[in-house]
């Protein structure tokens, strides 16, 4: 081991440690930002160390550097500009795009390693296996994440897309990808085999995500995030680079944990989401069906304002409808007004409110809601028993009491105990079903009032009416 290799090894170790410490600090809101900085410092160290070793030992041609530099400029500009300008509501799809490019980069690294070996020493099995796995996983996440981003953005229909023979096509494509991969390992000098493997994997990524419903897309994004981590780790095996192995494995583990937690909070199993997409298409989410109006008590903005102004404790339950109509600013203004008036206002946030776990917290934070006002599921459920008014905005399944009974699509799902509040107001555009496709008894409860409105318009009306009551 040369002195240079030793120093680089130490720097990689330092970088890896900073990744771990950074992730660790991201556990609490007060330290999370510092955690991200520390992780970024680790990244700078890893990249600079790699540049140094490449300059000293590599550089077969100046064209390699020129191509790299051009790529860096293009990629860095694209990434930084999109990251600076994206709207917070569009965050899930941008994360998905950044995940996609990571997978693509990992596959490109494996390809380059393979191209290099064709002109020089053929790959050993211990190198060709990671190359094959890297190309397979990297290409699937590249195309799959782009499709998922398209679904979240609305460019591609969010409803599951299926067609006759899709299942057979899936099986065929997987067989082609695997067969080509095995052949690459047996004949590690044939570039076309690797190209065929990559093409089949790209097609499979598309076919895998197309049939998945928009509501499940975040779980898939998270799963593909884990995949990208593994692809990067495989790239590390292929070029014998420990920074890639460690960074990739950390993210592989992170993505897996997140995926499982997300699926659990949505009361879905990862297997059912992925396989459900493959075969059975979709059954429940014919969301055009409406709940019966019987027993519904309709209220208007003035009633709601009166209730809120004379309450002592109010819990706000924001749901997807709030994010969809971008009403977080009106909501924050309303709660600010009530707090100034002496009302105790907190937010009860379900883990999957918004489009991604934790997305609602980001949206509220953007509207200047301090994070100590945001209660997580357990804290919120303890608070509902003592709450005068629960204001539900565009949320449905996450507060459906039927989850406590057996034998329906939401059975067993962790819910917010909104029905424990003394009074409930629901802002909702119509009586349409949520994703689970079942009625919500909360809406017909005697203590519930339904305010039919778009979240933004409805909150605006309530805000105006509330100002009347709390002024002076």
């Amino acid at each position: 081991m040369t002195a240079l290799a030793f120093v680089i090894g130490l720097l990689y170790l330092l970088a890896a440690s900073l990744f771990v410490v950074g992730l660790h600090l991201m556990r609490a809101p007060s330290t999370a930002r510092r955690g991200n900085y520390i992780s970024a410092v680790g990244m700078i160290i890893a990249v600079v160390a790699t540049i140094v070793v490449a300059v000293v030992t590599g550089a077969h041609s100046v064209w390699g550097w020129i191509a790299l530099a051009a790529g860096l400029v293009v990629g860095a500009l694209f990434g930084a500009i999109r990251a600076r300008t994206v709207k917070m509501t569009d965050m899930p799809q941008l994360v998905s795009v950044f995940n996609s490019v990571g997978g693509g980069a990992a596959a490109a690294v494996a390809f380059a390693e393979f191209v290099l070996s064709i002109g020089g020493t053929p790959l050993q099995v211990s190198e060709s296996i990671p190359v094959v796995l890297d190309v397979l996983i990297g290409c699937v996440t590249f195309s799959g994440s782009l499709i998922a981003a398209g679904k979240l953005q609305g460019v591609i229909p969010g409803s599951p897309i299926t067609f006759p023979g899709a299942r057979i096509l899936n099986v065929l494509v997987v067989l082609v990808a695997v067969a080509a991969g095995v052949l690459v390992i047996m004949y590690p000098t044939n570039l076309w085999l690797l190209v065929i493997e990559a093409a089949a994997a790209l097609i499979f990524g598309v076919l895998m995500v197309l049939p998945i419903g928009g509501a499940d897309a975040p779980v898939i994004v998270s799963l593909l995030n884990a995949f990208t981590g593994l692809a990067v780790a495989m790239a590390g095996f292929a070029i014998n680079n420990q920074a890639l192995i460690i960074g990739g494995a950390l993210v592989g583990a992170a993505g897996t944990i997140l995926t499982l937690q997300m699926a659990k909070a949505m009361n879905r199993s990862v297997g059912a989401i992925v396989l459900g997409g493959f075969g059975t298409a979709d059954n429940a989410s014919g969301a055009s069906v409406n709940q019966d109006m019987t027993g519904v008590r309709e209220v208007v903005a003035d009633d709601v304002a009166l209730q809120l102004a004379y309450a002592q404790r109010v819990l706000i339950v924001p749901g997807f409808g709030l994010a969809a109509s971008q009403a977080q600013y009106e909501l924050a203004e309303l709660s600010g007004l009530l707090i100034k008036h002496g009302v105790d206002v907190k937010y009860a946030i379900h883990p999957v409110a918004g489009r991604m776990p934790g997305h609602m917290n980001v949206l509220l934070a953007e509207a200047n809601v301090p994070y100590d006002q945001m209660l997580q599921l357990e804290e919120a459920n303890a608070a509902f028993d003592n709450c005068d008014v629960a204001l539900v905005i565009g949320a449905n399944d996450v507060c459906n009491p039927m989850a406590r009974q057996k034998g329906n699509p939401v059975s067993g799902m962790p819910i917010l105990d909104v029905d424990h509040a003394r009074a409930v107001v629901v802002i909702k555009r119509s009586m349409s079903f949520g994703y689970a496709g079942i009625p919500n008894p909360l809406y017909t409860d005697a203590k519930s009032g339904m305010f039919f409105a778009d979240a933004k318009a409805g909150l605006g009306d309530i805000l105006t009416a509330t100002k009347e009551y709390v002024s002076a």
């Binding site: 990744f19 809101p29 064209w63 917070m88 941008l94 890639l244 192995i245 897996t256 917290n361 934070a365």
Partner: protein, 108 residues
């Protein structure tokens, strides 16, 4: 060769376990920024792009160096910047608007 492979495998498996341990304790409040932050970390693939660019000696190699460099750089820069943007909003400690401005630093 086998010694090197075994060393890499050990690093891989232990990193997976560390990842499970560190990440399983993150509250749902921070899941979105955390996912984005983890996303940025797999941008370390950029180091791989640099290695292959330095070894490239054919037109195909140059094209791949460009592609890997562009995609990797987008991953790293975009990932860290967007994560910071999210966390910056979380850090704004404007709880009850009055009480002094000392609280942010005593990160208990």
């Amino acid at each position: 060769m086998t010694v090197q492979l075994f060393g890499n495998l050990a690093i891989f498996v232990l990193s997976l376990l560390v990842g499970f341990e560190v990440i399983s304790k993150i509250p749902t409040t921070l899941h979105t920024p955390m996912m984005s932050g983890a996303n940025a970390i797999h941008g370390v693939v950029l180091a791989g792009s640099i290695v292959i660019a330095s070894l490239a000696d054919s037109p195909a190699g140059y094209v791949l160096a460009f592609v890997a460099g562009a995609l990797g750089a987008a991953n790293v820069f975009g990932g860290y910047v967007v994560t910071d943007r999210m966390l910056q909003m979380f850090n704004r400690p404007k709880a009850p608007p009055a009480p002094a401005k000392s609280s942010p630093e005593d990160a208990s």
